[in-house]
Symmetry: C3
Subunit: 341 residues, 3 copies
C-alpha cells in the first residue's frame, strides 16, 4: 500500500510543507530513513537526523524550526508523537484486513460463526464450536470441538486450540501457540506409568496476548485459567491447573509447573521456572532465570536467583560469590597467623 503526503496529512490533521504527492509505503526510524518511508521527529536529541534523513515524509511538531535545509516533505501537527502512534494503529488495521471465508477451509456443520468473519485457507473449525464477531482465523489454524472464541480475537497462522476451550474477547494468539494439550500427569514409573486422564479445559479471559509457540495445558479436572489482560512472550509453558492473575506479564521461555497460582500484575522475566503447587503474590517481580521452589506470599517483592531470593539479598550474596577465592585466602591467612602464635 502507498500513501501520499496529502493523504497522510488528512489522516493526522496536519499541514504539508514540501511535495504533497510524494508517496510512502513503509515506516522507518528517522536515523535510518530510506526513500519511500515515513518517520517522525519528537525527541530534540534526534533533531540532527532530520537534515540527513532519506525518509520521504517526516511528521514534526508545529513548533519545529529547521536550522538547515530539510529534504523530506514535512507534515506539521500538534504532537508528532501522538500523530505517529495514530498512523501506526491505522496502518496495522489496514495491514491485517483479511476478510471472508476461504473455500479451502473446513467448518463443521454444527459450528457457528459470528459476523464479519475471516477464516483462512486450510483452517479447521470443529463440531459445536462458537466463534464471535470480527474474529480472524488465519490459514492452517485448528479449533477443536465445543470451543468458544470471543469477539475480535485474532488467531495467527497455525495456532492449535483443542476441544472444550473457552477464549475471551480481543485476544491475540501468535503462530504456533497450542492451547489445551494434556497435562503432564502419569502414575509413578513403578506402577506402570499409566496416563491420568486430562478432562479439564483452559479458560482464557479477555485481552490476553500470547507470543509464538507458547504451550498451555488443559486442567486434569476443572480449568487452567488465564485472567484478563495477561500477556505472554514467545515459548511460554503453562502446566495443567495453573492460574495466571489479571494483567500479569510473562517473558519468553518461562515455564510454570502444575497447579501454581500467580497473582495480579506480576512481571515475570524470561527463562524463569516455577515448581508445582505454589502461590505467588500480586505485584511480584522476577528477574531472568529465577528458579522458584517455594510459595512467595508477600506482595510487591522482587526476586532473582535459583533458588529465588529477594533481589537485594541475592545481589549482596553474589558479590561475595564472585569474591570467594579472595575470601578463602583471607581465611587461610588467619589460619596461618593463628598457628604462628
Amino acid at each position: 500500500m502507498k500513501f501520499t503526503a496529502k493523504q497522510i496529512s488528512e489522516l493526522v490533521n496536519g499541514l504539508i510543507e514540501g511535495d504533497p504527492d510524494v508517496t510512502i509505503h513503509k515506516v522507518s526510524k528517522i536515523e535510518q530513513g530510506e526513500p519511500g518511508s515515513i518517520s517522525f521527529l519528537s525527541n530534540p536529541l534526534y533533531t540532527q537526523y532530520i537534515y540527513k534523513t532519506e525518509a520521504s515524509i517526516v511528521i514534526v511538531n508545529k513548533s519545529f524550526v529547521p536550522e538547515h535545509p530539510v529534504k523530506a516533505t514535512l507534515v506539521r501537527v500538534n504532537s508528532a508523537e501522538v500523530a505517529f502512534a495514530k498512523l501506526l494503529e491505522l496502518y496495522n488495521q489496514i495491514k491485517d484486513n483479511k476478510k471472508g471465508i476461504s473455500r479451502q477451509c473446513f467448518i463443521a456443520e454444527s459450528a457457528k460463526l459470528g459476523e464479519n468473519p475471516y477464516v483462512g485457507e486450510f483452517a479447521y473449525i470443529g463440531e459445536n464450536t462458537q466463534i464471535g464477531n470480527n474474529v480472524k482465523i488465519h490459514p492452517q489454524v485448528y479449533i477443536g470441538d465445543n470451543t468458544q472464541i470471543g469477539d475480535n480475537t485474532i488467531l495467527y497462522p497455525g495456532v492449535k486450540i483443542y476441544s472444550d476451550i473457552v477464549i475471551g474477547k480481543n485476544c491475540i494468539f501468535h503462530a504456533g501457540v497450542v492451547i489445551g494439550s494434556d497435562g503432564f500427569r502419569f502414575a509413578p514409573q513403578n506402577e506402570g506409568n499409566k496416563k491420568i486422564p486430562q478432562i479439564g479445559n483452559v479458560v482464557i479471559e479477555d485481552d490476553v496476548e500470547m507470543g509464538a509457540n507458547c504451550a498451555i495445558d488443559r486442567a486434569t479436572l476443572g480449568s487452567t485459567i488465564i485472567r484478563k489482560g495477561v500477556k505472554f512472550d514467545n515459548l511460554v509453558h503453562i502446566a495443567h491447573n495453573c492460574e495466571i492473575g489479571e494483567n500479569t506479564y510473562i517473558a519468553a521461555a518461562t515455564g510454570i509447573a502444575g497447579s501454581t497460582k500467580l497473582g495480579k500484575n506480576c512481571l515475570i522475566s524470561g527463562h524463569v521456572s516455577m515448581a508445582p503447587h505454589l502461590t505467588i503474590a500480586d505485584n511480584t517481580s522476577m528477574g531472568g532465570a529465577t528458579g522458584v521452589s517455594k510459595s512467595l506470599t508477600k506482595p510487591g517483592l522482587s526476586y532473582l536467583g535459583a533458588p529465588a531470593m529477594e533481589v537485594s539479598k541475592f545481589r549482596r550474596s553474589i558479590v561475595h560469590f564472585r569474591n570467594l577465592p579472595e575470601i578463602v585466602e583471607r581465611i587461610e591467612k588467619l589460619e596461618k597467623e593463628h598457628k604462628q602464635k
Copy 2:
C-alpha cells in the same frame, strides 16, 4: 454429549438415589460443581461439599451416610474413586472418537494405512509411509516419506514427523511436536560453517507421550532413540543421537544436547540443561533448572544446581550462599580482633 444418571449408573454398575433422568455433559470437582456436571466424593475431607455442590450427579461410596439433605442425584458404587476413573476413561474414548479419512487430506499412493484409520483435514502422508491400525492422524499433521507409525498412536493437530522415522504403538504426540529435524552440527565458523549432513533418523518405541511443541532431532548417523514408556512434557528439546532410557520422565522446557544418553526411570524436572556426550545413570532425579556438564554414573541419586550437585550438598551450600554477607562479616571481625592483638 449428554448422559443421564441412569446411563451413568449402568456404566459403573451403581445404584441411583434421586432423579434417574437428570443429565450431565461435563465433569467437575465437587467443591466447584455446576449444574449439568458430574462429580465424585471419596476423600472424607470433601464430604462437607456434597451438601452445597451444584453438580447434578455425584458418585459416592455405598457406605456414604448423608448428615444433611443432598440436592444432587447420587450414584452409589463400591469405590467412588475407581468408578470415577473408569468413567473418565470412557469419556476420553468417546471424546476422541474421530474416524474415517477426510476428503481434504493428502495420502501418497504408495503409503499404507492400517484398519480403522482417522486422517483429518489437511493432513499429509508421504511416499511409502506405513500407518498401523487405529492410528489417529488429526488435521494438519505432516508425516514424511518412508516413516512407520505403530498401532493406536495418536498424532494431535499440526504434529510434524519428518521422513524415515520409526514410531511405536500406543504413542501420543501433542500439537506442534516436531520429530526428525536436522541435528545442530556444522563445521567450525572459521572453516566456512558448512552443514554436516544429518542422515540418521529417530526411533521412538511403544507407549511414549510428548507434550506440545517438543522438538526431537534426527541422528547425524544411526538413530536418536526414545525408549518404551518415556514421557515428555511441553517444549522439550532432544538433540541428535541422544538416547532416553525406558520409562524416563522429562518435564517442560528441558533440553538435552547431542549424543547424551539417559538411563531408565529417570525423573528430570523442568528447565534442566544437559551438555553433549554425557551418560546419566538409571533412576537419576534432577530438580528444576539443574545444569549438567559432566556424566552422572552412579544410579539413584538426586541432583540440583548449575553445575549439578547432589541435592543434599547443594542445599547445604546454598544456605551458606544466602548467608555470605554474614560470613564475610565474621571474617572481618576475626581480622580486626587479630590486628588488635
Copy 3:
C-alpha cells in the same frame, strides 16, 4: 531408493572388491552395520569392526590391507572419508527432491514464484510475495504478504513466515519455526496494558539455518536482523529489534531479549538467557544456561554462570561454593580458638 555397489563405485570413482550387484538402501556406522546398509572405514581404531560388520558395502582407503576375511563388498577410493561425505551429500539431494506445485496449495495471484519451485500440499503464499529460484516450500508452510524468499531456501513443513519479512538465499528453516510474530511490548499494567504496534519486520541474510520451533519476533520499528551464516538450534527465541552477528551459532532453548546485539562468530550454548538492550562483542562464547544481564564488550572471552562471569573466574568461585560448609567450619574453628585465648 536402492543403489548397487557398481553405482556407488561410479559415484565415488572407486574400485569394487566383492559382489558388484549387492544393494544398499541406508547408511550405518561400521560398528552397527546392518544388511542393506553402506558404511566407511577411515579411522584405524575402527578397523576391528570391518571383520564383523553386517554392512553390505564398506568404503575403504586404497591403502587398506585386510588381516582377516571381510564379508562386505569393498569400494576402494583415495580417501574413504571424503568419498563418504560426497555420498551423503548426494543422498541428501536425492532424498529432498520434491518438485512442482501441489494442486492443494494456495498461491495469491499477485505472488511470484521463481524457477524450479516446490510448493507442497496445504501451503499458503500471500499477496505480492516473491519466491526465488529452487525454493522448497514444504506442506503446510505459511508465507504472508509482501515477503521475499531468496534462491535455494528450504522451508520445512509447518514453517510460518509473517508478512513483510525478507529472507536471503540458501537458508533452511525447520518445522514449526515462526518468523515475524509481534514483539513483546506493552504499556505498563497500570496504564491499561495497551499493545504497542509492532510494525517493523525481520531481515534474515543468506546461509542462515534455524532448528525446529524457533520464534523470531519482528521489530517494533526497523528490523530484527539475523546476519549471514547464523545457525540456530531448536526452540531459540529472538526478541524484537535484536541483531545477531555473522556466523554466530546459538544452541537450543536460548532466548535473547529485545534490542540486544550479538557480535560475529559468537558460540552461545543452550538455555542461555540475555537481558534486553545489551551489546555482546565478537567471538564471545557462553556455556550452558549462562545468564547475561550486562553488556560484554571485550571480544573473544568465554562466560558461564548467572549472572555471567568469565569462565575461569566462575570455575574458581564454584569450587569454593561446593566447599562452603567446610569453609564455614574453618571460620567457626577460628572463632572458637580466638575465644579460648
